[in-house]
């Protein structure tokens, strides 16, 4: 029980289907430990985005059980879900910025939702935008920004609240390699602070950049490497950071 409570996420035989369609995720059983760094890989259509939706509580599974921060998210009362979501940081593949808000207001959004006072959020938001190289775009609205700029705003928004779990869907897909490395360093810094990071990516080169990361591979809705055996580069001497049971069906 204590072990489960200390886990960030625990999936137990989880399946997901949309409507009457076949399952897009099948028999997922794994645990994400606090302070770990995971890459989620897989071909297009493998179910990465669906798995991420389950992780950031945008979707409930069709079957199985999910525990997050020690709570059963299936049976958790609806009014307690927002508090759970506030412990998450999410970088959406399509950024999902609020179009009529400036870069500043988009990044400030999670803090305002959480009730942070205006005078307390001015500095962190400005600093965060400066760190992602957008000091000069602080008042720009998404429509006037490039894809890369929007992505950096989305990342700044996801990390501004120092989440317990950061879920990022192709977070470096629209930025140049130098910025991609910089953003990864940001994720690593968060990870060192105790944030569990899950990054979905197609970019195999990215996997080399975070030495202590674990790789989770999805293949046709099944987790094919939940044990971390495929982590890159392999370091068999280090203790495993993820454990799984029965996920590889």
């Amino acid at each position: 029980m204590n072990e489960a409570a200390s886990d960030i996420i625990h999936f137990d035989n989880v399946g997901l289907r949309y409507g009457t369609q076949p399952e897009v995720l099948r028999d997922l059983s794994f645990t994400l430990h606090p302070g770990s760094f995971y890459f989620l890989t897989g071909a297009s259509g493998a179910g990465k985005t669906s798995l991420l939706k389950l992780l950031y509580l945008a979707q409930k599974p069709s079957r199985g059980a999910i525990r997050m921060f020690g709570n059963d998210v299936i049976t958790l009362p609806r009014e307690q879900l927002p508090q759970m979501r506030r412990r998450l940081g999410v970088v959406f593949q399509d950024f999902r910025l609020v179009n009529h808000l400036s870069a500043f207001d988009n990044v400030a959004l999670p803090l305002r939702i959480a009730g942070v006072r205006e005078d307390e959020l001015q500095r962190p938001v400005t600093d965060m935008l400066g760190w992602v190289g957008l000091s000069h775009r602080i008042d720009a609205v998404p429509a006037t920004m490039s894809g890369g700029e929007q992505q950096r705003v989305a990342i700044a928004r996801a990390v501004i609240g120092r989440p317990d779990l950061l879920v990022a869907d192709e977070p470096t897909g629209n930025v140049d390699p130098e910025m991609a490395i910089k953003l990864l360093r940001l994720f690593e810094a968060l990870n060192r602070l105790g944030t569990t990071v899950v990054v979905a990516t197609h970019d195999v080169h990215l996997l080399k950049k975070v030495p202590n990361s674990l790789i989770m591979r999805l293949d046709k809705g099944r987790l094919s490497d939940p044990t971390g055996a495929l982590r890159y580069p392999p370091r068999p001497s280090s203790p495993p950071m993820a454990s799984a049971a029965g996920g590889d069906a």
């Binding site: 609806r78 879900l81 759970m84 179009n99 959004l109 120092r162 360093r185 810094a189 602070l193």
Partner: protein
């Protein structure tokens, strides 16, 4: 590599949790611009007119009932004028001695003649047409059927051709019509309230659909249903306030115009249909009731839509 300042600082100061839920100003106001304030203004104008009309009718009916509640007419029909005069005196004596009677007045012949002048012409009333004698009686209590029966019985013992009528009986059809109009006004007010709520419901639904993506983002970032609902509620409240003030002013203008027309009639019965202080307070409260209905409608609508999200 230098860390982002917020994270760099937090390495030293620890992870203080963010708290609070005052996020009503997070999302740009989903302004229900366009027709809503105007629709509500029209609805509230009509509601003010209906309520004012209903209250005026109620006051009118109450005033008339109050004036006539104890009023009785005693009519003595006798062709022989001398006998008629004697019987009138007897009736006055009997009525004066009756403890149920508060006051009475034998209607003078001149007044009776004046009543008939429009039909018979001046000076033609007495000779060719035998006129009954009329006595206006004011009872201490309401002139109900039992009281009328008792008076009739007492008078008939002495005067065979006497007839006692409660004056309110003659106005019963008028009271009935006034009651119908009052019910009509009440039904109108209810229909207008329902229509206003429906207009707000549709507007909020449309606004919710237009801002659905923003709402989903706020939802996924941890926004509570209550926070999101409050954004719409406040927006609708502002629209309802604007519409309410416009509607109240227009309605009051209408009430005053109609009131001045009726006041010009200078009729005793219509004079009882004026509005009192409480009536004006009730009318002034209409916009506030509209705001509450609009906010409640918006809240229920948004909460129902949010419950469909995970």
């Amino acid at each position: 590599m230098k860390l982002p300042p917020l994270i760099g600082r937090s390495l030293h100061r620890g992870l203080a949790p963010l708290a609070g839920e005052n996020a009503a100003s997070l999302v740009p106001r989903t302004r229900l611009s366009g027709p809503v304030p105007w629709v509500l203004a029209i609805m509230i104008t009509l509601t003010v007119l209906a309520v004012a009309g209903g209250l005026a009718l109620s006051n009118l009916a109450n005033s008339a009932r109050s004036d006539l509640s104890g009023a009785v007419t005693v009519q003595i029909v006798e062709a022989d004028q001398e006998l008629l005069a004697q019987q009138t005196q007897v009736a006055v004596r009997i009525l004066t001695d009756n403890p149920a009677v508060q006051s009475l007045r034998a209607v003078p012949q001149a007044e009776l003649d004046a009543l008939l002048e429009p039909w018979l012409g001046t000076g033609n009333a007495v000779d060719p047409v035998p006129m009954p004698a009329l006595i206006d009686v004011q009872l201490r209590d309401v002139a109900d059927a039992q009281q009328i029966e008792q008076l009739q019985s007492v008078l008939t013992n002495e005067i065979p051709n006497v007839r006692v009528d409660a004056q309110s009986d003659w106005l019963r059809p008028v009271y009935s019509a006034l009651s119908s109009l009052q019910y009509l006004a009440a039904v109108l007010v209810i229909l207008l309230a329902v229509t206003s709520a429906a207009a707000v419901w549709l507007a909020v639904r449309s606004s919710f659909a237009a801002h659905r993506e923003t709402i989903k983002i706020v939802h996924l970032l941890g926004g509570k249903d209550d926070q999101i609902a409050r954004i719409f509620q406040n927006s609708v409240a502002i629209d309802a306030l604007i519409g309410g003030i416009m509607g109240l002013l227009a309605g009051l203008l209408g009430v005053m115009l109609i009131g001045s027309r009726f006041a010009g009639l200078d009729s005793g019965m219509v004079a009882g249909g004026g509005l009192g202080a409480l009536d004006w307070i009730a009318i002034a409260a209409i916009p506030f009731a509209a705001i509450i209905i609009a906010m409640l409608t918006a809240r229920l609508n948004v909460m129902a839509a949010l419950r469909r999200m995970v």
